[in-house]
Every structure is written in C-alpha cells, then in structure tokens.
Amino acid sequence: MIDRSQPAIEVYNLHRFFGRVRAVDDISFQVYPGQVFGFIGPNGAGKTTTMRILATLDQPSYGNAYVAGFSVVEDPDQVRLRLGFMPDYFNTYPYVNVVEYLDFYARAYGLRGNQRRRAVEFTMHFTGLEPLADKPTRALSKGMKQRLCLGRAMIHDPLVLVLDEPAAGLDPRARIELRQMIRRLAQRGKAVFISSHILTELAEICDAVGVIEAGKLRAQGPVEHIRRQLARGGATVQVELLDQVEQAVRWLEQHPGVSQVERGQQENMLTFQHEGDASERAELLRQMVQAGLPVVGFSAKGHTLEDLFLALTEGNVQ
C-alpha cells in the first residue's frame, strides 16, 4: 500500500549545467503521493531538464533527486520501476497499433501473463482508448496520441508520474478530459509532477505549484498560498465615491486587511491594497455601504496565475 506520509519525489539542490548555461540552478521541492505538483515557467526555464533528470535520462551536475526514496543517481533501476515519464514529444513505431504499443511497453516493464493483460486492459479503459485498439499509432489524432502517451507512462502502475506539457496542443474538451484523468491518478495515490504553459490549467488540478525561471524556483507552495503571497505584495482595489473622500480614507485606514490607501488621479477615486479573497472584498464593500459611504464604483484586479507568473518571472532568457 502507498505510504502517503513519505514524499514520493524529493529534489534537493538540483543543478544541471550545459557548459555556461545553468539550465537547473539549485532547485529543491517535494511531492507527496496523491499530490499534483505543477511546474510553470517560460520557455527554456529548465522544466524539461528537471523532468529528464527525474526520469533518469540525464544526470544532475550537482545535487540529487529521489523517487520513492531511491536516488536517481545511485539507483536508477529502482527509480525506473516506480516512475512513468511522458515526454513533450510523441514517438512510436511504424506498423504498430494501439494495443501492441501498450503491450510492448508492458512487456518491457517486465509484466507477464495475466498481469500484463490486466495492465493493458486497465490502461486502455482508463485512457478511453478502447475503441481505437486496432488503430495504427501513427494515424492517431493529437489528443489520442497524448492519451496513448499517458497510457504508456502509467502502464506499469508507477508511484510517480512525470508529465512534460501534456496539455500542449489539445483542444478544450481534450484538456478537460486530461485534467480528469490526472485527478483520478492522484486519487489513486500517484504523485503527479506536471509542467505546462497553460497556467489556468495548473491552477485547477494542482495541489501545489512551483514557478521556475532561468533554472531557479521563484516561488512554490499550494496555489492558494502563492495567491495570498502575491496579494501581500500589492493587490489593488479601486473605489469610486460620489463624495466624502476624506471620511472614506479614514474609514479604510482603520479597517483590518487594508493598507496603502491613496487618492487617485481623479478627485473622487481611491486605491488601496487589500489582503483576502473575493468574499472578503464583498464583505468590505457591504461594510463601506453600511457605514454610509457613497460608493459608486468598486473594482478589484483579480489575481490569476497569469499575474502571478508575470509578477514572478521577469522574462529572463538564457
């Protein structure tokens, strides 16, 4: 049975240099079974490099990473048995159909007899590929290819799944289906490590995210936590009043969770920073109206992951 108290993925001070390029520069994080950990970052940030090291396809220049307690440097064989990797490209063999493709990888992972049959059957069922069993793999649509790739990665029922941009190039429906599959995998106790450019994508399925840029983790933690962290840095609410601007300023300055109250460019406009989520803002607005302040307009600039992303990364390219 899966021990959920032990981290499934542990990365400690991971470094990977390509000549002068520090593709991965001191990254540490942990992912527990049942968790989905999102990795977001711009192109060339080092996502793929980190994932390849975890998948034992590359070696760290310094630092170490563990999968289910096994080091990718010292015990790559043990790591491979417990990890499924879905790269950001699709590859297959000519003249091989969907079942044969999965069957080959099941054999390659040492599954025999009924065990193999069940693994292939379950994977086809899980990914919804059953109707396409006899279709040549080269003739699949992008969405179906991604399903097959995911199926291949999970064929040996690994504890850890490393998915490199699985949603790239998928239509909205396929994305939703993929998201559901990933959630179900997490429910089965898998630790899922997923990277993406589609940030809203990650917000909905990830328990935690890491924002990586130029090989460094700029922020990491639960999505909500990062949202709040960002909010502390300055989330702006704009209020338009009919009059009584002075009273409004005084009222707001005494209110907990509000800071940096300032007069706007227009005379009857105020801006301030507010900590808290939408419901707390609604409560604030209700109290302002109750206090007799003539509020005409109230708008808050919501914090999406895109904001977070843009705020944390500076567009550095290496």
């Binding site: 010292e74 009924n114 193999r116 040996h156």
Partner: protein, 562 residues
Amino acid sequence: MTNPARGPAAPPPAADTSSNQAAEGRWQRWEAALSDRLNPILVKEARQGLKSRLFVFTFFAALLFAWGWSVLGVALLVDPAYEDSRAGLGMFLGYCAILAFPLLVVGPQAAYRSMVNEWEDATYELMSITSLEAGHIVRGKLGSALLQMMLYAAVFLPCIGFTYLLGGVSLLSIAVGLVAIFAGSVFATQLGLCLATMSRNRGGQMLLSVLFLVALLGLYWMVLLFVGVLLLEGGGNAASSPELWYGLFVTLTLLASYGYALYQLTRSRLLFPSENRTTALRLALLVPPALWLAAWLAAMTPGFGPQLGMDDELTLFIFSAFFIHWAAVLLIIGGESGEISQRMRRRVPRSVLGRLFGLWLLPGPRLGYFYVLLSYAGMIFPWLLVLWYTLPSPFSARFRPAEWVRLAGAFWCYLAIYGGIATWLLAWLRRRVVVNMMLAAAVISLQVVVFCIVPLFVEVITASGIPFGQYSPIHLLNPIITIDELMANPAGGPEYWLMVLALPTVVVNVPGAYREMVLLYRTGPAQQPEPEAAAKEQPPEHPFADLAAGTLPSSTAQSSSS
C-alpha cells in the same frame, strides 16, 4: 507471492469439458507462456518487421526468383543435351545466389536501419528507461533477424532438397554452403547493429549506411565466391578433408567470438554512462585472440600440423591477426569517455584477487592500455616458452621458437609505442574536449602518417642511396617493413631498438593508470545511512494490484478511492 490477484489464472476445468477444448486451452496457455518468455523487443520487431514493406517485398521477390530458377532448372533438365550430373550443382549455386541476397544484404541493412530509427524517432529514450537492459535490446533485434532468416530457410528448404535429388552435389557441400550464408548473415546483422550505435548524427549515419551497404555487397560476393570455389573444385563434392574441417571450425568459432565481441561493444555503447560499460566488453575481447592462438597451437600439434602443411606464413598470418585485434581494442579503449560514475565506484571489486584480475577490466582508458599490454603478453609468451622447451627436435628445426618470440615481441612493442602515445595524447585531450572513437582513430592515423608515411617520403625524396631491398632504420616504426626485415634476417637488430622505444611510452602512462585506480577506489561523499535499505530493495508491488483479477472497475474514478 500471496497476492490474491496473482493467483492461478485459469479456473480448474469443469469435469464435463470436452478433450478438444482442453487441448485448445492447453495450447493457448502454452502459447501465452512462450510469448511471456520471449524478448519484448523480439515480439515487437516480429510484429512490425514482418509487416514492413521492405520485408514483404524482398520475401516475395526471393520467392519469385526461386520459383523462376526452379522452372528454368526443370526446363534445362528435360533438355537431353544438358543431361549431366552437374545439374544439381548449378541449381544449388543459383539458389545460393538468390537466398544470400536477402540474408546478407537486405537483412543486415534492415537491422541497421531499425536501430538507427530508434534514435531518429526518439523511441530509444523511452525504451531505455523501462526494465529492458541494453543487452535485451540488441538480442531482441538480432533475434528478429534470425526469425526472418528462419522464414527464408523454410521457404528455400524444398528447393535445396530438390537440388540434392537432382544429384551432382553432396549433402556436405550443401551444408557448408548454407552454413556460410547463415553464419555470414548473423555476423553481418550484428555488425550492422554495432555500426548503428557509432554515430548519432544524420551525416555520420548516412556515411556509415553507405559504407555498410558497400561492405555487405562485398560480403555477398565473397560468400558466393567461397561457396562456388568450394563446390566447383570438388566437383560438387566438398571432400571431407582435415583442412576443410580445420578451416571451417576455426572460421566459425572466430566469427562467433567476433560476433560476441561486437554484441558486447554494441551493448556497452547503449548503456547509460553511469553504468559499467567496460568489464563485459573487455572480457569478450579476450576471446578472439585466445581462439587465434588456439588455432595456431592446433596447427603446431605434431600429429596434426604437418598434415595441414603449416609453415611460417601461417604463423605470421595468425600473429598479425592477433596484433591487429589488440590494435583495434586499443582504438575502442581510446574512445572511452574516461568518466567513472559514483555508482560504478561502489561496485569495484575489493578483494585481493578481484583487484589483481578485475582491475584491468574496470573503466579507464589508461588501465585499458595496460589491459591490452598485459593480455597480449600473458596470452602469447607463456605458450611460446612452453613450445620452446617442449617441441621435439625435428619439429623445432622447421619451426623456430626464437623467431616467434622476436615476432610476437616486436608486435607487442608496436602496441606499446602506438598505444602509449595515443593513450597519453588522448588523456591530454580529454581534459579539453569530449573524446570518442573517431578522435582516437584520428590520433592513431596521425601516428601512422608521422611514423610510417613520412619516412617513406624522406627515403624517396632524399634518395639516400639505400640499395633496393636493404632495411633502413628510419622505418623502425613501420611494422610492415620492420617485421618483413625481422622475418628475413635472423641476425636481429630492430627488435632491441623497439624495446628501447617502448619503455618510455609505457612508463609515461603509469602515473595516469595509477590515478585512475585511486579514483576508482575512492568512494564519493558518504552515503546517508538508510535504516530501511533492506526493505526498500523489494520490487514495487505489482501493477494494478488494487484491481480484482480480470475485472475492470465500472468507473475508474470510483475504484480509485478505495
């Protein structure tokens, strides 16, 4: 294991099951068991290889040719003018020519392509992180080539039987001809797989592919020529002579040993850099020279040798082959990256015996250099000494052990000199660039130019008045000219100078080899003590253990929460 999901698959057959069904069930179970035992790559390659257009086309083309040739043969047979006992021989040679083309040219080239495609389609990476070891992959590819060969054999067997019935060709001749073709095919396939690992860029692959095709066509003609000469000389009846058996046995065992060495080379090039890429390969590389020596010793055996008419020519030939083998090994070792992973270091043998014999097999180009020198010397000189003292006098009058020692010693010196300089240079280069086999080949070629070609030019240009046929010391480092001189002139001379030159090239590599050894035995940063280490070594629970055998959950979402 006590896992309920893994229990016996089939329920015990009900009492009233008909015997027919039982037999069918048994057959299916047998088939499943067989398919489980097969190499996964073999299963995959068989599935796609037999469906590939190239195979289908060649197979039917071969069938068509065989059929056409048979019709032609029958037409010739009924022609009374052509009715002589050699009809079978001609038929057989024709079938050989048809059969050899797919086996010696198309098959090996297809194996090469199939390996190269693993990189071009980026399928190799994902395969490499499964439980498949590099050796599985090579063996699987080889196995699928064997499978195709068997299909050809099955088709051509009736034709071959037909030629035998026609007469004019003996069973032995047929067997020798077929063995030559099949052995050649297996070897060429393995060579193709090995070449496919040599270059991972498109240009290099194209070049290798063309060179390989040319080599295969050459092999095709050589094998046909061999079969033709063998049969036509004996008039279709290869005589069962000691020479034939000796030649056949030596050729086949050598071919097998080189095939095995190529297999290990391919495997080592496929292994991850953190794995031990050298030990198995170096062990495999010991086999062919041992066989060369065994062949030589067999030819020296008093009762057997003179019968074969063995002479100094054979000795020179075998010693040269021995030398060339070790020179090639130096090339392979020179191309080693020289990096030793943390993981490797933990598995270094630590017992006294292990250190004594295992050290030379461990990764490290300079240790590899000494591996070559020691293996060469250890293999050949003890035998020479034994022969020196044990050969009966009439025998030793004809064969001169002293000459052999000079010959083997001179070759050893060449290995020491060329190899020593190359090893030293490559170690220097390794600090600056990534060294591979191409670079090692370039360094050795450079030496050949400087030591052999330049002196020839000097001699021609200065026209230094060396009378024709007289040995000049400027060719000391040219093995061909110097060995020729050694063989012709028993008075001696050059070998002492070679020894003088070999000494510094060996000595200069000693510190490097020592450093490599120290590095091997220095383990990395102390491992974190792992209390659960023993428990952890267990393989992961078998896949989808939480699902009941043979059933799929009606909804995966629900099943997963349990």
